[in-house]
């Protein structure tokens, strides 16, 4: 196990380094740089920037340097002193901008995942056990509806209905008076009274997929002899199903935990923009369109780190729930 962990950790560091390099390179691919984006934004306002001002800013930001030097400055700052560089657009250190947003993302999307699992797993189990029943078809229909309706459209419809029916505007994660407050019971209540809508929107999309995977996995398992044996031994039906085949059927789900977070962050960008959620998605989108490269690079890199760490965690959980992996691994 120790050897397993060490090799995994080493490969993790290498992966993260590779991610940082590729991320930095991709961000630089589009034509122009932050300053051309800035100039365009200012011009759309009816204002203009003089060439001299641009040149002064270009020097101040070090945008004239070659790619490798820029990359080296950036990466050595991160590993040397945890300094992710300056955000051009905000003119302040990137670290002061991202943590709060990333925290919101993890909280909100974690809750969405939880809801997704809580809804999808029982339905998936039910759909497998009662194959081709009315309930199975209903679950399938609603699941696919959730999958087929684009997230942002669902969000817009929810916002519109809430305005028409209740006269309230959905948006954000907190009421304004709780925005800056410390966590307390009323604040938690306020959070949930806002967060239910985005959680539902984010959860619906993944639910169908989960139901289908769970159903298919479980159907494979139910036919296996050990299930028949368990039944023959007289175990109660629910115990037969929950204790053995469901655990096995969970394997493919658990092994993809690591990808959940980046998938959710990237798929929730438009929902976050539409519902004005203070998560990492809109910040990433903005930084990409304005070519605020250190900010965008930092977010992409942190998502990479989360993916890698998530994969490690999912491997560990897998080993824990499935003895075959724990004992059978040749390492």
């Amino acid at each position: 196990m120790l050897r397993f962990l060490t090799t995994r950790l080493i490969s993790m560091v290498l992966t993260i380094w590779a991610v940082s390099f590729v991320a930095f390179a991709i961000i630089q691919l589009p034509p122009g740089d932050y300053l051309t984006a800035y100039m365009a934004r200012i011009a759309a306002e009816g204002e203009r920037v003089t060439a001299a001002e641009m040149e002064a800013m270009r020097q101040q930001y070090g945008l004239g340097d070659p790619f490798l030097i820029q990359y080296w400055k950036w990466i050595s700052g991160i590993f040397g002193s945890g300094d992710f560089g300056q955000s051009f657009e905000w003119k302040r250190p990137v670290t002061s901008l991202i943590w709060g947003r990333l925290g919101n993302s993890i909280l909100l999307e974690g809750l969405a995942v939880l809801v997704m699992w809580l809804v999808a797993l029982p339905i998936g189990v039910y759909a497998a056990v009662r194959k081709y029943s009315l309930g199975d078809y209903l679950a399938t229909v609603f699941g696919f509806l959730g999958l087929a309706v684009p997230n942002f459209l669902f969000a817009l419809v929810l916002m519109y209905l809430s305005y028409v029916w209740f006269g309230t505007t959905l948006g954000g994660l907190f009421s304004q008076e709780f925005e800056r407050a410390h966590w307390s019971l009323p604040r938690i209540w306020d959070f949930f009274s806002h967060a239910w809508a985005p959680i539902i929107v984010l959860a619906t999309a993944g639910t169908a997929q989960l139901i289908r995977i769970m159903r298919a996995n479980l159907l494979d398992e139910l036919k296996k002899p050990y299930v028949t044996t368990a039944r023959a031994k007289g175990l109660p039906e629910w115990k037969v199903i929950v204790k053995y085949p469901v655990r096995v059927a969970l394997n493919p789900l658990v092994s993809t935990i690591g990808w959940l977070l980046p998938t959710l962050v990237s798929s929730s960008v438009i929902v976050s923009v539409v519902m004005s959620l203070p998560t990492a998605g809109p910040l990433l989108l903005r930084s990409l369109t304005s070519q605020d490269m250190y900010l965008a690079g930092a977010i992409i890199m942190l998502l990479g780190v989360l993916t890698v760490v998530g994969t490690l965690i999912s491997d560990l959980i897998l080993a824990w729930i499935d003895p075959r992996i724990r004992h059978g691994g040749g390492r």
Partner: protein
């Protein structure tokens, strides 16, 4: 001889009848001018009683600026709710609380009037401007606002380490300050600077009065030897970054991320803008230097609350739901207009009119400096441009894209402008394919290929790639698609090239484009923004190499302009150094006459009016506003005298 411009407060204005105040303050009679007793907002009473704040008479300057209300004397209180788009929407903040310069424009955008400065004098050759500040003027922390603050700002902008490069330290004619005493200073120029008062009165003029020396000097190594270490400790590379973070100038975003930065404006930021802020909250500045004619210190409105939203949809719903008191930006799109109109009763708001400062909805800019000699010759041929102009069915575009709003219009001063010239605005706007063909043939395009596309002299078909940023204004693409069909009728092929805005800008220095489109800036701000009247600045894309020759900013690509453009440039140089406004107007008209003769860019239709939405209980709001950046609405219409009924 010095021209003395009197300030309107020199004589006390006739005071209106005032029932409420007279009842409250029976002793206050207004026989003698200085006896005007000042009143403050109730929310400040407690702080004055506790000794936290000095009394209002001591907070106001000796000679506060008297703001004439639109309709009536207001009452104190209330919160003005509005919305920011994204975390970085400094434009909205600049427009609402940021427009506070040494001088300002009157509400018609015609004349420069006093603001922070109470008067000024200009010498004959427009090289020395002497300003008189209000005596006893204070920053929002109670510290006196003096000539030293202006001198500090100008000196810092001219520091080569500090990357400002604004009009203050313009290489061609930088500003110097001569401090005479606490309230008197001179702005001095080597060369005549006739446009200075306009520059000071527009939104960019705010730069010179936004940096308080007593607070900001701690970040400057000339005043604090540890400034660089301080910056490093805070995580910045050097002092210039920390300075920009703490003491950004004018309308820069960071200016509103630091609640400790004293300001001169009507409201102080309490909950600042930041990467994860969901709202920005402002509170009245107890030292604000303006009063109404009855001596009530402005602003009337206690607080501003700006929702920071990523979502234009959320802001639209908030406005429909009556959760926004005044807003135009982000929500006043063409598409939303019908929805807002229908929702007036339910939302308790009404729509007001905004006259856009832009002239044409689209400016078709052929690259007159094209690298391909055949294209260049063609684009520089006036007959070719006239032919294209006549081939465009402008009424069809107006009907289809703008639901009938607007009229055919070239890129020219708007009818409201003193420079309006009917011929310049209307020439070649009739839709006349036959005339179009005549002109195109006169330009040498007599032959066509099998597809009906006209051929240039070297046998290549005329095919123009038009760059456009659809993300910025979706209607540009709608318009271009119609223009594409219309031009195909006369044998001109255009290809619509929808690209990202950074690429759009990146192509310019490389001269890598046939044509680009934008909207017609300079419809009302004719003199300040002449980019389409002659090759004046980097936004004159139709003659990018010529403008480089003129501005001298990028000598590598500069190219000597045509004689007519050179003549315009000489006239504009003369205009910039001319102190007399009437003479400046004459010079501008001469420039426009040359524009009219040469017809460099093609316009489509007059930009239709926009709108704002205002809650019905919000009073003293101008029913019609000009929508411009240099003259920023609503700041230019004194939101400090708005009040809630």
């Amino acid at each position: 001889m010095l021209k003395r411009i009197p300030h309107p407060n020199a004589c006390v204005r006739a005071i209106r009848s005032r029932k409420i105040l007279a009842a409250l303050l029976p002793g206050l009679m207004l026989s003698a001018a200085p006896a005007l007793a000042y009143e403050q907002a109730p929310m400040l009473d407690e702080r004055v009683e506790s000794g936290d704040l000095p009394p209002v008479d001591e907070r106001l300057p000796k000679n506060p600026l008297v703001v004439e209300p639109y309709e009536s004397i207001g009452k104190y209180g209330g919160v003005w709710r509005s919305g920011l788009r994204g975390g970085n929407d400094n434009g909205w903040i600049a427009r609402t609380v940021g427009y506070e310069g040494l001088v300002r424009y009157d509400r018609e955008w015609k004349k420069v009037i006093p603001n922070i400065a109470e008067s000024w004098e200009v010498n004959d050759d427009a090289t020395e401007y002497t300003f008189e500040l209000r005596e006893g003027l204070k920053w929002s922390d109670g510290h006196p606002f003096t000539s030293e603050d202006v001198a500090f700002t100008v000196e810092m902008f001219k520091n080569p380490e500090y990357p400002a490069n604004t009009w203050i330290d313009a290489q061609s004619n930088p500003t110097s300050v001569e401090v005479i005493d606490d309230t008197t200073f001179k702005l001095v120029y080597d060369k005549p600077n006739g446009m200075l008062m306009d520059q000071l009165a527009d939104i960019n003029g705010t730069m010179i009065v936004t940096i308080p020396k007593h607070y900001c000097s701690q970040f400057n190594p000339d005043y604090n030897a540890d400034a660089n270490e301080m910056a490093k400790e805070e995580g910045f590379q050097n002092w210039t970054f920390l300075m920009q973070d703490k003491c950004a100038w004018g309308w820069e975003t960071e200016r509103w991320t630091n609640p400790d930065l004293p300001t001169i404006g009507a409201w102080i930021v309490k909950e600042p803008l930041s990467g994860d802020a969901a709202r920005v909250v402002w509170e009245r500045n107890p030292y604000y230097f303006k009063v109404d004619p009855e001596g009530n210190q402005l602003p009337y409105i206690d607080r501003l609350n700006m929702r920071v939203s990523e979502s234009a949809e959320e802001l639209t719903l908030m406005a429909l739901n009556g959760e926004i008191d005044w807003q135009d930006r982000h929500i006043n799109t063409n598409a939303n207009q019908a929805v807002f109109y229908d929702g007036q009763e339910k939302g308790g708001y009404h729509l007001g009119k905004e006259v856009r400062a832009t002239s044409s909805t689209l400016v078709f800019q052929l690259n007159l400096n094209h690298d391909d000699p055949a294209m260049r010759e063609l684009f520089q041929n006036k007959d070719f441009r006239i032919g294209i102009s006549h081939a465009i069915d402008r009424q069809e575009i107006i009907d289809v894209v703008f639901i009938g709003q607007g009229e055919p219009f070239q890129v020219a001063p708007r009818p409201q402008s003193q420079f309006y010239d009917e011929k310049l605005a209307k020439q070649y706007t009739e839709f006349d394919p036959e005339r179009a063909v005549e002109h195109l043939e006169a330009a040498g395009l007599t032959e066509t290929n099998a597809d009906g596309v006209r051929l240039m002299e070297d046998g290549r078909p005329v095919r123009i790639v038009v760059d456009v940023i659809a993300a910025l204004r979706p209607e540009w693409v709608d318009m271009l698609e119609l223009i594409q069909l219309q031009l195909a009728q006369v044998g001109i092929e255009i290809e619509i090239n929808n690209i990202d805005r950074t690429l759009f800008y990146d192509k310019r220095p490389g001269n890598d484009y046939d044509a680009q489109v934008w909207s017609g800036d300079g419809g009302l701000d004719v003199m300040q923004e002449p980019r389409y009247y002659f090759p004046a600045n980097e936004e004159s894309v139709w003659a990018y190499k010529w403008q480089a020759w003129y501005t001298g900013a990028n000598p590598d690509i500069a190219e000597e302009p045509a004689d007519w453009a050179k003549k315009q440039m000489a006239l504009y140089d003369e205009l910039k150094s001319e102190g007399d406004p009437d003479r400046r107007a004459e010079l501008m008209k001469e420039i426009l006459t040359i524009t009219k003769e040469n017809f460099p860019v093609i316009g489509v239709s007059l930009m239709p009016d926009g709108y704002y939405i205002a809650q019905n209980n919000l009073k003293n709001v101008a029913p019609t506003m000009i929508d411009a950046w240099l003259f920023p609405q609503p700041g230019a219409y004194d939101p400090a005298q708005w009040y809630f009924e």
